[in-house]
Point group: C2
Chain length 411, copies 2
């Protein structure tokens, strides 16, 4: 196993990239240290897949933890090999001289508990049966996800984070982190997110789950083949692909679909087509393509567990009120929402901001212009950079001043 | 076959109802009068299922045609039997002393071409093969639907309608009627509709169709059993149910889901549930119920054909511009949209209104308050009544004045 704090190898030709990176693994819970979940179940083996970029400072005061969204993974930036053409999912934001500047900060991202990209989840071997968990995997919450990531931060020898950053389900994790560990971060950046998912969001997730569980190949979640980590070969591929298509529409705005596809037909005369061929409109073939690609990299059971965790997330329900959840931290908040995001509308970010203002926390809120709907936080990098860069720089400056002052103070 | 203009039997106990009504049938196209579709295909047998309420005046100047939406049928008002508990789908709007007052007006509604409630569609017998059409049924457009209904109006001996009324796909039909036959109606009421479906709407329809066509029981559309008119026994029931669930979410607003279901759980402690049981949230079980009920009354192939017709509807594409499509009529328009309708947002009604104003047509437009999203036009009856009643009364008064004047004028 690679050292958890190994720095990535820079590539000369990609000066703006963190270069070649490796996913690392840490076993954080085992028989001697069992993880007790919010629902009461226990997991006595939890491995976490994570990546790091940049160097942890000697004072360990420059660590930023990135919380990924529903179908993300630990691979935020750089490339996994020299011939890879697919950089990490937030490569525009993380790297030398980027918003999360890896020449200054030590950036960490880890796959979530219940996921399928290296961290323990339903496709992993159940030590009791020797077979993949499937639906035997216990119910998990956003709180459980954060608990495992907090253990990783501890494992890396970090006491306090400079910042937490996340969008969508990642933003929910940021809020949960702050509620659970009010002193663990200096700033909290929560993008396109909410203190709870809307009822409409729950409805879309529910239909997606039904598409999966009613697929004849779902087999009550026990569909894994010889190699459970090879997704796309077996399982409810049609149901999962359909779930992704439904969700994908909710990530886009009408304006972005209109701009990208309009009502354009794939073929010529629209009255001379074959009904069985379901790709007349370009948006149809695009969604179909997205569904097909998704099943190759994602496990259907993980999709069930993680959408559930998202549906059940309710900061006020868990902590009494949003005020009570967020009022104990001194972290500086940056909250953004996007005008065309109808899955996590601005009104929901507004609820978080209201609670922060009422409890006199330090918060900057912006409703940003973008045509890209919910996906904006992944796409509008420049916009985000302008907000994130000064916030991190200022927070880091203050952190160091405080620490220096503390050192000079007589014991 | 009942007389096409038979009036329904009133029930004493339901003074506000049109009473017991019967669906009637008319064969409007046959070998001697073939229907040529917009796509060029020909249908040499078209039967239309329709219902009428009220009495046609001797001058035949009081007829109002109701265009139903995607999954509607000819049964707008009244009951099909004395022990029925399910009145027609717009019973609140159609009846004695209601907005479409059956003591004054003669109201007609007919099932659409390609439908599955009595009018010729994919579940009907293909005269060539002797078996149900299935996917051999030709592609149909909103124009074809209107053409068949225009033939029905002619069959009933009506030269000019007092009004056309419809919401959603029904509203698209109203617009197509006016474009195709500018002199055939005195007023046109178009609710929660658009001159073309949004790209997002197309995307949701496409995913719904994929759910149907990829269901193993779809069998390339050739799934009918012994009695093709018995839906719910055979065919892609799961796919159709899922398509309905997806669509149903788009008919609701966040506010209406929140108000009706919130994030309420069905059961007690939310962390002690069985993942296989997909009905934790009330909205989930509601959607599931809607999906189950739908497959009992609707044919999957009809769903494919009618959503296609909706997707391809494009008034400007067909007639050059909305202005050219609607600028030739002297009909008085009432256009309404609903604040919380995100499937047919107000901006789309605005495009219709803009074209009518630019061509100096007579139009009243209102964006109405309602929490019920796209479904508002089916639910907010009182609101609609206040707009529709005076418009019809005034139009009818003017019609009669004009006709009288014409009679008095020397030949």
């Amino acid at each position: 196993m690679a050292s958890p704090i190994a720095s990535p190898t820079p590539i000369e030709s990609q000066s703006q990239s963190v270069g070649i990176v490796q996913t690392q693994f840490a076993t954080l819970f085992d028989a001697s240290r069992v993880l007790t979940l919010e629902g009461g179940h226990r997991l006595d083996h939890v491995t976490v897949a994570f990546e790091t970029y940049g160097e942890l400072s000697p004072a360990k005061d420059n660590a930023i933890f990135v919380c990924h969204a529903l179908t993300g993974d630990a691979h935020v930036a750089g490339l996994h090999s020299a011939d890879s053409r697919k950089p990490g999912w937030w490569d525009g934001l993380v790297g030398p001289q980027k918003a999360l500047d890896t020449t200054k900060y030590f950036v960490i991202c880890a796959n979530v508990l219940g996921g399928c990209q290296g961290t323990t989840g339903p496709s992993c071997r159940n030590p009791v049966t020797g077979k993949p968990y499937g639906l035997q995997f216990p119910f998990i919450t956003v709180g459980d996800i954060v608990e495992v990531h907090a253990a990783l931060i501890h494992h890396l020898g970090i006491v306090r984070l400079l910042g937490l950053v996340g969008g969508s389900l990642g933003g929910m994790q940021v809020l949960e982190w702050v509620a659970r560990y009010p002193e663990m971060t200096q700033c909290a950046i929560c993008l396109a997110s909410a203190a709870k998912l809307s009822a409409q969001g729950i409805a879309f997730n529910a239909v997606g789950r039904r598409a999966i569980t009613a697929d004849p190949d779902f087999k009550d979640g026990d569909y894994y083949g010889h190699d459970p980590s090879r997704y796309g070969d077996v399982g409810p591929l049609f149901g999962l692909s359909l779930a992704r298509m439904i969700a994908h529409i909710t990530y886009l705005s009408e304006a972005s679909i209109e701009r990208k596809f309009g009502r354009d037909l794939q073929h010529g005369d629209h009255l001379e087509y074959n009904l069985e061929k379901e790709t007349e409109f370009k948006i149809e073939s695009y969604l179909h393509y997205q569904g097909q690609r998704f099943v190759e990299r994602f496990d259907a059971n993980s999709y069930l567990y993680l959408t559930r965790a998202m549906d059940y997330f309710d900061l006020a329900g868990r902590y009494g009120s949003i005020q009570q959840a967020l009022g104990k931290t001194n972290a500086r908040f940056l909250i953004t929402s996007y005008q065309t995001d109808w899955l996590f509308p601005s009104i929901q970010s507004g609820e978080i901001v209201k609670a922060l203002v009422e409890t006199r926390r330090h918060v900057t809120y912006l409703e940003l212009e973008s045509v890209f709907g919910h996906d904006s936080f992944l796409i509008e990098i420049k916009q985000l950079e302008e907000l994130v860069t000064p916030l991190l720089a200022e927070t880091y400056r203050r952190t160091r001043v405080t620490w220096t002052t503390q050192c000079l103070r007589p014991m």
